[in-house]
């Protein structure tokens, strides 16, 4: 493995210097905390010290001229970070979810699947969450796909101003869910009579009284359906961009050949373009689906934690940090993870397989 070795004195000196420096750094920081501008940054200092140390090691390894080992060594910090912060923390969360930790002091007493059983048996709030998430997911994905595909087809007609329209449809994506929730919360204000406002006011002045609605304040379960509107507003442009990318990769020759054969524009879309867009639809469903399963900030800004608009993300938050029921909160978090994993893991495996074949 290390058959080749070229000693480079300057590099070795640099490496040893860095190791020494990091040792001094870490040793000092263990004795005295590092405080900059009133912030205790000891951990950051230790992290930097560790990275300096690691750079020294990398320099030494680089003299062995074994590129695979060097490549793995360089990847190691990121791999370790992901291993701890993603997989390690998931494991830790699972452990919490199997305990009876309630209150501020950790209590890892094993209670098995009790927390999960509580959620599924006589827990009306979690039942509402599941129904809300299902409703939101279906509405959100369908809305984005239909509107996104429709916009992509419209912009596929080589009209003037395509860039301008594309820009308009995409810009909501750059705004935070919080900001959009605040604005849409106002547009979809449910007040009636004298205090009528927002979209309802427009409908009233246009004489479209039948469209006046309570929006997301509609009694359960249908209020949740209206939270789809701002979500689709934000992400249908993204779906459109995905479809446009897919359409662009279909060669014009194919369409031209179909035209020569006498196919109408409608038939070209129906029999040539739509089938070729299926992989795009799959990616869009995965991306949008995983977003909707963990939807959180939009609903917080829109519904102000109203129980009728509750979703698992909010339930986890209030249970854990307001109710200090850590074990229960962890169980909700893990169930959210499972739902996302069912959707995403097959897709990741599929992606990995097709790539290895190339």
């Amino acid at each position: 493995m290390f058959r080749k070795f070229t000693l480079r004195v300057p590099r070795l000196i640099l490496a040893l210097g860095l190791i020494l420096l990091s040792a001094v750094c870490i040793f000092t920081l263990r004795k005295t905390p590092l405080i900059i501008a009133g912030k205790n940054l000891t951990s950051i200092g230790l992290l930097v010290g560790g990275l300096i140390f690691y750079t020294g090691i990398v320099l030494i390894i680089s003299m062995f001229e074994n590129e695979t080992v060097l490549s793995i060594t360089l990847l190691l910090p990121s791999m370790a970070a992901v291993a701890i912060f993603v997989y390690g923390f998931i494991g830790w969360s699972i452990q919490v979810s199997l305990s009876k930790w309630k209150g501020l002091n950790p209590d890892y007493t094993w209670v098995g699947l009790k927390q999960y059983v509580i959620l599924f048996q006589n827990n009306p709030r979690f039942a509402i969450d599941i129904r809300n998430t299902a409703m939101f997911t279906v509405g959100f994905i369908l809305g984005c796909l239909i509107l996104g595909l429709g916009l992509a087809i419209l912009l596929d007609q080589k009209l003037k101003g395509e860039t301008l329209f594309r820009g308009i449809f995409l810009f909501p994506m750059s705004i935070s869910f919080i900001a959009s929730g605040v604005v849409w919360g106002w547009l979809m204000n449910p007040a009636t009579g004298n205090r009528i406002t927002g979209l309802n006011l427009i409908f009233q002045s246009l004489g479209l009284k039948s469209l006046i609605s309570l929006w997301h304040s509609t009694p359960m379960p249908w209020g949740m359906a209206f939270t789809v509107i701002p979500a689709v507003w934000q992400l249908s442009g993204f779906t459109m961009a995905l479809y446009m990318g897919g359409m662009r990769s279909i060669s014009d020759d194919l369409r031209e050949a179909a035209r020569v054969d006498g196919a109408s524009e409608f038939q070209i879309y129906r029999y040539i373009i739509f089938p070729l867009l299926q992989p795009v639809t799959l990616s869009a469903v995965i991306i949008l689906g995983h977003m909707s399963l963990k939807i959180f900030d939009l609903i917080v800004a829109l519904g102000n934690k109203a129980i009728s608009l509750d979703v698992p993300g909010i339930y986890m938050w209030t249970t854990t940090f307001d109710g200090t029921n850590y074990a229960q909160g962890a169980a909700i978090g893990i169930l959210m993870l499972v739902s996302v994993a069912i959707l995403v893991v097959p897709y990741l495996i599929h992606n990995m397989r097709t790539e290895t074949q190339l």
């Binding site: 923390f89 605040v182 442009g237 961009a241 993870l337």
Partner: protein
């Protein structure tokens, strides 16, 4: 010919109606943010402001959000730069120095981008408290960098995979090693990708809410948390709130307006390859 003109007119009408729907919230935000409070009566929310534009709403909004905008900037700028450097290194190694199992490693890293953060939140809070980075901006930066590793690695990896290996082979003949090839060939070629990743991370971190609300205390709140708090308070001055919302959304809107091309590329990368 006539049919064509007709269908085009129809397409334009549909497009314009849809564009109006997409622009509606922004229009309303702008309209309200320049009105005095007595004209923001619910009845008149759609009418144009009488007697001039009221910039003082923005000043009032800015006064409320200024510390938080500052917090967000202090967080987002180092975060975007550091995570793009890290992503560039990872992407280069995973695209050009594949080892046995490197695709698996990549997929395992990638999974981190899809997880609901609620599933790691309790350990994260406990961990950040233990290393004394809880409640302040540096801790939030660290968290954003770490959970940004998947997406930044993905974008750079796809970009580097598209650079021909012959270029690296030429460098190898000249005696460059793994690090030399990165420094002299790959890094100078990565400017577009850096633009994509920096913009993406900037937007993500600026708009992020969950980590921000859980990991910082009130004096270090980023702008999303402060805005949500402002909107949730009992006496809402809509004109000031809308001005504040615009201010909070302004940086990412500007990035989108002027650097939209790169923003779009980041979006597409997030969709993997399909």
């Amino acid at each position: 010919m006539i049919r064509r003109v007709l269908s085009h007119t129809l397409f334009y009408i549909i497009l314009i109606v849809l564009a109006a729907f997409y622009l509606l919230p922004i229009y309303l935000m702008l309209l309200t943010s320049v009105k005095p409070f007595n004209q923001v009566d619910l009845k008149t929310m759609w009418s144009l402001p009488l007697n001039g534009l009221h910039i003082e709403n923005f000043i009032a909004g800015y006064k409320q959000l200024a510390p938080n905008i500052n917090n967000s900037l202090m967080m987002v700028i180092p975060e975007a730069i550091l995570s793009s450097l890290l992503g560039s290194l990872n992407g280069y190694l995973l695209a050009k120095w594949k080892f046995r199992g490197s695709n698996l490693v990549f997929s395992l890293i990638l999974f981190g981008m899809f997880i609901p953060y609620q599933s790691i939140l309790i350990p994260l809070v406990k961990f950040m408290q233990a290393i004394k980075l809880y409640g302040d901006i540096p801790g939030l930066i660290l968290v954003h960098i770490i959970y940004g590793i998947p997406i930044t690695t993905l974008i750079f990896r796809n970009y580097y995979a598209g650079i021909e290996t012959e270029l690296l082979d030429a460098g190898k003949i000249d005696g460059a090693g793994l690090m030399g090839l990165y420094r002299y060939i790959m890094f100078p070629l990565s400017a577009p990708s850096f633009a994509v990743v920096i913009i993406w991370q900037f937007t993500q971190a600026w708009n992020e809410f969950l980590f921000a609300v859980i990991l910082t205390n009130q004096s270090h709140w980023p702008v999303t948390v402060a805005l949500n708090n402002l909107a949730g308070s009992q006496l809402v001055q809509w004109n000031v709130l809308m001005a504040a919302t615009l201010l909070a959304a302004l940086p990412t809107l500007m990035v989108y307006l002027f650097l939209g091309r790169y923003f779009l590329r980041g979006l597409m990368a997030g969709a993997l390859k399909g």
